[in-house]
Symmetry: C2
Subunit: 136 residues, 2 copies
Protein backbone atom coordinates (compact mmCIF):
# COMPACT_ATOMS: atom_id res chain seq x y z
CA UNK A 1 0.00 0.00 0.00
CA UNK A 2 1.40 3.38 -1.00
CA UNK A 3 1.60 6.18 1.47
CA UNK A 4 -1.08 8.00 -0.53
CA UNK A 5 -3.43 5.08 -0.19
CA UNK A 6 -2.74 4.83 3.50
CA UNK A 7 -3.70 8.45 3.96
CA UNK A 8 -6.82 8.19 1.84
CA UNK A 9 -7.84 5.01 3.56
CA UNK A 10 -7.77 6.96 6.80
CA UNK A 11 -10.36 9.32 5.34
CA UNK A 12 -7.82 12.07 4.81
CA UNK A 13 -6.97 13.84 1.59
CA UNK A 14 -3.52 13.17 0.21
CA UNK A 15 -2.44 16.78 0.40
CA UNK A 16 1.05 18.12 -0.14
CA UNK A 17 1.85 18.90 3.51
CA UNK A 18 0.74 15.43 4.54
CA UNK A 19 2.82 13.73 1.88
CA UNK A 20 5.84 15.84 2.80
CA UNK A 21 5.54 14.93 6.45
CA UNK A 22 5.31 11.25 5.56
CA UNK A 23 8.39 11.56 3.39
CA UNK A 24 10.40 13.02 6.23
CA UNK A 25 9.29 10.20 8.49
CA UNK A 26 9.96 7.60 5.82
CA UNK A 27 13.58 8.72 5.61
CA UNK A 28 14.17 7.63 9.18
CA UNK A 29 12.46 4.27 8.96
CA UNK A 30 15.69 2.31 8.86
CA UNK A 31 17.84 4.61 10.95
CA UNK A 32 16.04 3.99 14.23
CA UNK A 33 15.98 7.73 14.75
CA UNK A 34 12.78 9.18 16.09
CA UNK A 35 11.66 12.67 15.20
CA UNK A 36 9.72 15.23 17.18
CA UNK A 37 7.14 17.52 15.60
CA UNK A 38 9.69 20.29 15.79
CA UNK A 39 12.33 18.13 14.08
CA UNK A 40 9.99 17.46 11.19
CA UNK A 41 9.03 21.11 10.98
CA UNK A 42 12.66 22.21 10.78
CA UNK A 43 13.49 19.52 8.27
CA UNK A 44 10.72 20.77 6.00
CA UNK A 45 11.78 24.40 6.34
CA UNK A 46 15.35 23.47 5.49
CA UNK A 47 14.09 21.73 2.37
CA UNK A 48 12.27 24.89 1.40
CA UNK A 49 8.84 23.47 2.14
CA UNK A 50 6.83 25.97 4.14
CA UNK A 51 4.56 23.88 6.31
CA UNK A 52 3.25 25.40 9.51
CA UNK A 53 4.26 23.87 12.79
CA UNK A 54 0.61 23.66 13.80
CA UNK A 55 -0.02 21.63 10.67
CA UNK A 56 2.75 19.23 11.56
CA UNK A 57 1.19 18.68 14.97
CA UNK A 58 -2.29 18.30 13.49
CA UNK A 59 -1.18 15.88 10.82
CA UNK A 60 0.87 13.77 13.20
CA UNK A 61 -2.10 13.55 15.50
CA UNK A 62 -4.34 12.44 12.64
CA UNK A 63 -1.76 9.94 11.47
CA UNK A 64 -1.47 8.53 14.94
CA UNK A 65 -5.22 8.01 15.14
CA UNK A 66 -5.10 6.33 11.76
CA UNK A 67 -2.29 4.08 12.90
CA UNK A 68 0.06 5.42 10.25
CA UNK A 69 2.55 6.68 12.79
CA UNK A 70 3.33 5.70 16.36
CA UNK A 71 4.00 8.19 19.09
CA UNK A 72 6.52 7.61 21.86
CA UNK A 73 7.00 9.49 25.12
CA UNK A 74 10.45 8.27 25.98
CA UNK A 75 11.28 10.71 28.71
CA UNK A 76 12.05 14.20 27.58
CA UNK A 77 9.41 16.87 27.57
CA UNK A 78 8.20 16.08 24.09
CA UNK A 79 6.87 13.25 21.96
CA UNK A 80 8.69 11.59 19.11
CA UNK A 81 7.22 9.74 16.16
CA UNK A 82 8.04 6.94 13.79
CA UNK A 83 6.13 5.30 10.97
CA UNK A 84 4.18 2.36 12.28
CA UNK A 85 5.92 -0.84 11.32
CA UNK A 86 4.36 -4.22 10.73
CA UNK A 87 6.26 -5.87 13.51
CA UNK A 88 6.00 -4.48 16.98
CA UNK A 89 9.32 -3.66 18.57
CA UNK A 90 10.66 -2.32 21.83
CA UNK A 91 13.35 0.28 22.33
CA UNK A 92 16.70 0.38 23.98
CA UNK A 93 17.91 3.94 24.59
CA UNK A 94 21.53 4.65 25.48
CA UNK A 95 21.55 7.16 28.32
CA UNK A 96 24.97 8.44 27.29
CA UNK A 97 24.61 8.84 23.54
CA UNK A 98 20.84 8.95 23.07
CA UNK A 99 21.18 6.23 20.45
CA UNK A 100 18.10 4.07 19.98
CA UNK A 101 18.12 0.38 19.16
CA UNK A 102 14.98 -1.48 18.28
CA UNK A 103 14.47 -5.07 19.25
CA UNK A 104 11.76 -7.63 19.36
CA UNK A 105 11.28 -10.69 21.53
CA UNK A 106 8.31 -13.02 21.15
CA UNK A 107 8.92 -14.63 24.53
CA UNK A 108 8.63 -11.32 26.33
CA UNK A 109 5.43 -10.54 24.50
CA UNK A 110 4.01 -13.94 25.28
CA UNK A 111 4.73 -13.42 28.97
CA UNK A 112 3.10 -10.01 28.86
CA UNK A 113 0.04 -11.46 27.15
CA UNK A 114 -0.22 -14.10 29.85
CA UNK A 115 0.12 -11.60 32.66
CA UNK A 116 -2.53 -9.33 31.18
CA UNK A 117 -4.85 -12.30 30.65
CA UNK A 118 -4.40 -13.43 34.23
CA UNK A 119 -5.79 -10.07 35.32
CA UNK A 120 -8.70 -10.30 32.88
CA UNK A 121 -7.25 -7.91 30.35
CA UNK A 122 -6.07 -8.05 26.79
CA UNK A 123 -3.22 -5.96 25.45
CA UNK A 124 -3.98 -3.17 23.01
CA UNK A 125 -0.53 -1.63 22.93
CA UNK A 126 2.90 -2.01 24.42
CA UNK A 127 5.66 0.41 25.22
CA UNK A 128 8.83 -1.03 26.63
CA UNK A 129 11.87 1.12 26.85
CA UNK A 130 15.12 -0.06 28.36
CA UNK A 131 17.66 2.56 29.31
CA UNK A 132 21.16 1.24 28.86
CA UNK A 133 24.82 2.19 28.80
CA UNK A 134 27.81 0.59 27.16
CA UNK A 135 29.33 -2.17 29.24
CA UNK A 136 32.68 -0.99 30.58
Amino acid sequence: MSTQDAVKKAGLKATLPRMLILEVLAKTIDSEVHLSAEDIYKDLLTSGDDVGLATVYRVLSQFESAGIVTRHNFEEGHSVYEMTQDHHHDHMVCVDTGKTIEFHDPEIEKKQDDIAASHGYEIVDRSSVIFVKKTD
Copy 2:
Protein backbone atom coordinates in the same frame (compact mmCIF):
# COMPACT_ATOMS: atom_id res chain seq x y z
CA MET B 1 15.46 4.36 56.76
CA SER B 2 13.08 7.21 57.58
CA THR B 3 12.00 9.60 54.90
CA GLN B 4 13.98 12.32 56.68
CA ASP B 5 17.11 10.27 56.49
CA ALA B 6 16.50 9.50 52.85
CA VAL B 7 16.31 13.20 52.09
CA LYS B 8 19.36 14.08 54.14
CA LYS B 9 21.33 11.26 52.61
CA ALA B 10 20.64 12.85 49.25
CA GLY B 11 22.35 15.98 50.48
CA LEU B 12 19.08 17.85 50.87
CA LYS B 13 17.75 19.55 53.96
CA ALA B 14 14.69 17.95 55.52
CA THR B 15 12.51 21.01 55.08
CA LEU B 16 8.79 21.19 55.64
CA PRO B 17 7.75 21.40 51.98
CA ARG B 18 9.89 18.37 51.17
CA MET B 19 8.46 16.31 54.00
CA LEU B 20 4.94 17.28 53.02
CA ILE B 21 5.50 16.25 49.43
CA LEU B 22 6.88 12.93 50.55
CA GLU B 23 3.87 12.38 52.77
CA VAL B 24 1.49 12.93 49.90
CA LEU B 25 3.42 10.46 47.79
CA ALA B 26 3.61 7.96 50.63
CA LYS B 27 -0.17 7.90 50.85
CA THR B 28 -0.39 6.44 47.35
CA ILE B 29 2.30 3.81 47.77
CA ASP B 30 -0.12 0.93 48.03
CA SER B 31 -2.88 2.26 45.83
CA GLU B 32 -1.00 2.03 42.55
CA VAL B 33 -2.13 5.55 41.84
CA HIS B 34 0.43 7.86 40.32
CA LEU B 35 0.38 11.58 40.97
CA SER B 36 1.40 14.49 38.80
CA ALA B 37 3.12 17.59 40.16
CA GLU B 38 -0.20 19.39 39.87
CA ASP B 39 -1.98 16.61 41.78
CA ILE B 40 0.47 16.91 44.65
CA TYR B 41 0.21 20.69 44.59
CA LYS B 42 -3.58 20.59 44.82
CA ASP B 43 -3.51 17.94 47.52
CA LEU B 44 -1.26 20.16 49.63
CA LEU B 45 -3.42 23.22 49.08
CA THR B 46 -6.49 21.28 50.10
CA SER B 47 -4.73 20.26 53.28
CA GLY B 48 -4.00 23.88 54.01
CA ASP B 49 -0.31 23.58 53.26
CA ASP B 50 0.80 26.43 51.04
CA VAL B 51 3.59 25.02 48.96
CA GLY B 52 4.35 26.66 45.64
CA LEU B 53 3.85 24.67 42.45
CA ALA B 54 7.38 25.55 41.38
CA THR B 55 8.65 24.06 44.62
CA VAL B 56 6.77 20.85 43.96
CA TYR B 57 8.42 20.60 40.56
CA ARG B 58 11.84 21.42 41.97
CA VAL B 59 11.55 18.96 44.81
CA LEU B 60 10.25 16.16 42.63
CA SER B 61 13.13 16.72 40.28
CA GLN B 62 15.62 16.57 43.15
CA PHE B 63 13.97 13.47 44.54
CA GLU B 64 14.11 11.81 41.18
CA SER B 65 17.85 12.48 40.90
CA ALA B 66 18.27 11.09 44.38
CA GLY B 67 16.29 8.00 43.46
CA ILE B 68 13.66 8.71 46.09
CA VAL B 69 10.88 8.96 43.54
CA THR B 70 10.45 7.54 40.06
CA ARG B 71 9.01 9.53 37.20
CA HIS B 72 6.82 7.99 34.52
CA ASN B 73 5.74 9.41 31.18
CA PHE B 74 2.83 7.14 30.48
CA GLU B 75 1.28 9.02 27.64
CA GLU B 76 -0.52 12.20 28.55
CA GLY B 77 1.15 15.56 28.34
CA HIS B 78 2.59 15.39 31.82
CA SER B 79 4.71 13.23 34.07
CA VAL B 80 3.52 11.25 37.06
CA TYR B 81 5.51 10.15 40.09
CA GLU B 82 5.60 7.39 42.65
CA MET B 83 7.94 6.64 45.51
CA THR B 84 10.70 4.38 44.36
CA GLN B 85 10.09 0.87 45.57
CA ASP B 86 12.65 -1.78 46.36
CA HIS B 87 11.40 -4.13 43.73
CA HIS B 88 11.25 -2.94 40.17
CA HIS B 89 7.86 -3.31 38.56
CA ASP B 90 6.19 -2.67 35.26
CA HIS B 91 2.81 -1.08 34.63
CA MET B 92 -0.39 -2.16 33.00
CA VAL B 93 -2.63 0.80 32.20
CA CYS B 94 -6.29 0.28 31.30
CA VAL B 95 -7.07 2.48 28.32
CA ASP B 96 -10.73 2.68 29.30
CA THR B 97 -10.54 3.39 33.02
CA GLY B 98 -6.99 4.70 33.47
CA LYS B 99 -6.50 2.16 36.24
CA THR B 100 -2.91 1.12 36.81
CA ILE B 101 -1.79 -2.33 37.83
CA GLU B 102 1.78 -3.04 38.78
CA PHE B 103 3.44 -6.32 38.01
CA HIS B 104 6.84 -7.89 38.02
CA ASP B 105 8.28 -10.74 36.02
CA PRO B 106 11.84 -11.99 36.49
CA GLU B 107 11.80 -13.90 33.24
CA ILE B 108 11.04 -10.78 31.23
CA GLU B 109 13.80 -8.91 32.99
CA LYS B 110 16.23 -11.73 32.41
CA LYS B 111 15.44 -11.68 28.69
CA GLN B 112 15.90 -7.92 28.58
CA ASP B 113 19.24 -8.23 30.33
CA ASP B 114 20.36 -10.80 27.80
CA ILE B 115 19.26 -8.71 24.86
CA ALA B 116 21.04 -5.62 26.17
CA ALA B 117 24.17 -7.65 26.86
CA SER B 118 24.15 -9.08 23.35
CA HIS B 119 24.40 -5.52 22.06
CA GLY B 120 27.21 -4.68 24.46
CA TYR B 121 25.05 -2.75 26.89
CA GLU B 122 23.94 -3.06 30.46
CA ILE B 123 20.57 -1.91 31.70
CA VAL B 124 20.40 1.11 33.97
CA ASP B 125 16.62 1.48 33.99
CA ARG B 126 13.50 -0.05 32.56
CA SER B 127 10.11 1.31 31.67
CA SER B 128 7.58 -1.13 30.34
CA VAL B 129 4.01 -0.06 30.02
CA ILE B 130 1.33 -2.31 28.63
CA PHE B 131 -1.92 -0.67 27.57
CA VAL B 132 -4.82 -3.01 28.10
CA LYS B 133 -8.57 -3.26 28.15
CA LYS B 134 -10.92 -5.66 29.91
CA THR B 135 -11.47 -8.86 28.00
CA ASP B 136 -15.00 -8.87 26.61
